[in-house]
Symmetry: C2
Subunit: 355 residues, 2 copies
């Protein structure tokens, strides 16, 4: 089995090194091949998603991705900026289903800005559609305003859109995920304003007929943002579009206060996937050896579970992470008085030892 | 001076009655005229925004709005549903600038789901553009997908758009509001993905040149949602588009835990405005006499300040509200042990007395 290793920028290489170390001690035969992506791709090959990197990702059974972005690439024109790599990989690999768990480990309840009783035991799975919506819809651009009160002046514009198939397949992912959890799905939309999301609501309601064991409710996105702050534990599986999912999944992740712990998976129709930590490239702490590698290590566990069909190995890694937390080991981002502060490498070594 | 009073549905009439009572004791000569809106407009005249209601709103110097929506109107076709009234008023009255303060009154710090140290003293002003963006952009609808992998099947679609003038004028509102506060503006966009919001960023940056005294930073909407949860007090004035503003302003309101306290203003270019509480119509508690009227009373204060140029009277009302809070009076939504629980009417009377 071949894994594409794309460390990227900022803390990407450091955290990736720990995940690779963990994969290497599982006793499995993985072929791992690395390539440059993001700013590193641009620096070495003139493009954030160099052709060789894309080819590697396509040929691999799964992609493990670090993080991209650095201040020094902020002034590049948009098509060359690091985040184009991640958008390009999603589109080219047809990774339409983004699974973003927001889990609060009991040991880390103190890290949240929310009161412990509001978040302790939090375990939400946000399923974000990842290849449709206003992210890729056309036409888009800056043009002369064609009509209305601002006719003739410049306007920026984009197209939001969802085809029926796109909604159906992400709804299936959500209902099937809920069957393995508490059998409840909240579909988040803005059906009261947007045609796209009235259509979304209609199709999700239709797909739901195939899942009589699942309870479905619909919620407007503004209300969902409020309820995430007010009573996040009421949610179990949330499913939504690309744009709303971008906002809500980050909001939900931050509720835990420990975004350095949260993995994510982006899957295609055959469960091939790209796995990455939910946090960014944190260029301000890059190279200092203090970044938290656990989200990347847990992303590797998700990869084993969803794409490589090594459920037992995934469990092993997840249990090892729980063990090091129970041992009181903490990187700087989740450090609290009474625990032991460790660096990136020590944390990786501790997980290896716990395995 | 003429004020249009639009109580609406659910708790709307009860809370509006208290605001009207407060306006009546100020000793000013206001002509107040009421009209049906929302579900009440549909029930009485077959449309959520009856022509007479719109005419009244247009002829008035300001509009005081309660809340709209009730379960019984949920099955109506979209164009007849209560929320169309609010969208219609925004469009017809050209109310492009929505000011939504998120303030945590010190006495109510316990009501927040966030830790007191994270939110105590919170005072954010969110400025949401209210007549552009994907809310009103055309074309929109359900059509046959014109191209791409889903060609020929049905798709829902909408158009996001902002003309230069629309961005300029809301940016001016934000910079001028910041001049009266701590001189910092955060413009929230998604310039890394959306053409509309790259254009937004460019124009806001340009308008900023006229305000050398103001510090401007740009933030992506997903990050803004995270930072609102992580460290909300770092924000002062936030300015953003209609869709992102819908989500972020509700999220910020909920951080305070006391959305029953939060007013809002929606202004046109001449500072004529519509004023409404940030909360909804709460049909589940309608008619019980327990709803919190303070957000509506504070909306009346904003109306005096922004549209009717009665700054002193606005101050009087705001101080009276602070006084009743200091006296320990609380409606059910903000009740805590050790305070005195009062109903809607008692709360209104207490404000009148404090005046
Ligand atoms: C970097 C950016 C394009 C991306 C997105 O908006 O999808 C990121 O925010 C994410 O959520 O992975
Ligand atoms: C009712 C709805 C159309 C409205 C909106 O989305 O603007 C509401 O959520 C608001 O924020 O006032």
């Amino acid at each position: 089995m071949k894994i594409a290793i794309l460390p990227g920028d900022g803390i990407g290489p450091e955290i990736m090194a720990q995940a690779v170390k963990v994969l290497n001690v599982l006793g499995e035969q993985f072929e791992m091949e690395s390539a440059d992506v993001g700013g590193a791709g641009y620096a070495a090959h003139g493009h954030p998603l160099p052709p060789a990197t894309l080819a590697l990702a396509k040929s691999a059974d799964a992609v493990l991705f670090g993080a991209v972005g650095d201040f020094k690439y902020d002034t590049l024109e948009r098509s060359l900026r690091p985040e184009q790599a991640i958008l390009g990989l999603r589109r080219e690999l047809a990774l339409f289903a983004n699974l973003r768990p927001a889990i609060l480990y009991p040991e880390l309840a103190g890290a949240s800005t929310l009161k412990p009783e509001v978040v302790s035991g939090l375990d939400i799975l946000i399923i974000r559609e990842l290849t449709g919506d206003i992210y890729f819809g056309k036409p888009r651009g800056v043009r002369e305003c064609p009509d209305g009160p601002f006719k003739g002046e410049r306007e920026g514009f984009d197209t939001m859109r969802y085809a029926e198939t796109e909604i159906r397949r992400i709804a299936h992912v959500a209902f099937q995920a809920a069957q393995k959890r508490s059998k409840r799905v909240t579909s988040v939309d803005k059906a009261n304003v947007l045609e796209t999301f009235q259509f979304w609501r209609d199709i999700v309601t239709d797909v739901h007929k195939e899942y009589p064991d699942i309870e479905l409710d619909h919620m407007y996105v503004d209300n969902a943002a409020m309820q995430l702050v007010r009573a996040p534990k009421k949610f179990d599986v949330m499913v939504t579009g690309n744009m709303f999912g971008d906002i809500l999944s980050d909001c939900a992740a931050m509720l835990t206060g420990s975004i350095g712990m949260l993995p994510s998976a982006s899957l295609d129709a055959a469960n091939k996937g790209l796995y990455e930590p939910s946090h960014g490239s944190a260029p301000d702490i890059a190279g200092k050896g203090i970044a938290n590698p656990l989200a990347t290590i847990l992303s590797a566990a998700m990869m084993l579970r969803f794409s490589l069909n090594k459920v037992e190995q995934a469990d092993r890694i997840e249990n090892a992470v729980k063990k090091v937390l129970a041992q009181g080991l903490r990187t700087a981002d989740i450090f609290e008085a009474g625990t032991t502060r460790v660096g990136t490498e020590e944390m990786g070594n501790a997980v290896v030892k716990a395995l």
